[in-house]
Assembly symmetry: C2
Homo-oligomer: 114 residues x 2
């Protein structure tokens, strides 16, 4: 499933920006139109629309136009997808039976825990 990878790419990329994370946070509290969403931010509408576009392509939000206002809402399942990858990785880490070997390794090559 190479496509899975691309989905994770755009998911994490979408989240790698404070503006976009703020939008997601805001939308988790309820749907909102573009103008209202953009108000807290300094940038112009065109720049903001690009952020929305990134979010939409990633699947994190869905939008729908009624009349002249476009309403945005979050797709919580996509958030769960990102979380899923992470918890899966953590499970990998926590479930390891040979973490002892890793510990030994870290003693063999002592690092400064600064």
């Amino acid at each position: 499933m190479v496509n899975q990878q691309a989905a994770l790419d755009s998911l994490f990329h979408a989240l790698a920006d404070p503006t976009r994370r703020a939008v997601v946070s805001r939308l988790l509290k309820g749907a909102a139109p573009v103008k209202q969403l953009s108000e807290p931010f300094e940038m112009g509408l065109p720049a903001f629309l690009k952020h929305l576009s990134v979010l939409e392509v990633s699947g994190l939000i869905r939008t729908e136009k009624r009349g002249r206002v476009r309403t945005c809402r979050v797709d919580a399942e996509r958030l769960a997808a990102a979380e899923g990858w992470l918890s899966q990785q953590r499970a990998l880490w926590q479930g390891r039976t040979d973490r002892l070997a890793d510990f030994v390794e870290s003693q063999t090559h002592p690092e400064k825990t600064e």
Copy 2:
């Protein structure tokens, strides 16, 4: 805490690349030197080192040089930090008392669930 934001930026950005996610996955199974880590990938060493650098700056991995080999290991706490933000957001979503309003909203503006 603006710094928190920057940390999340670089964390998610680090994860937004299949090569880097693969490296993290691999390192979760145990520490490894640069050369060995780079073998599964097509790109040259310089490009691969840039990826490692991104991972290190984000704090997802730490590296240490002994003799002429640099050993890399993962910092699972950083993974947890990313997961933390996501689960925090999900909690926001799940804990909402007014999700009904959101539902009503979605009925008022019916979207095509394509």
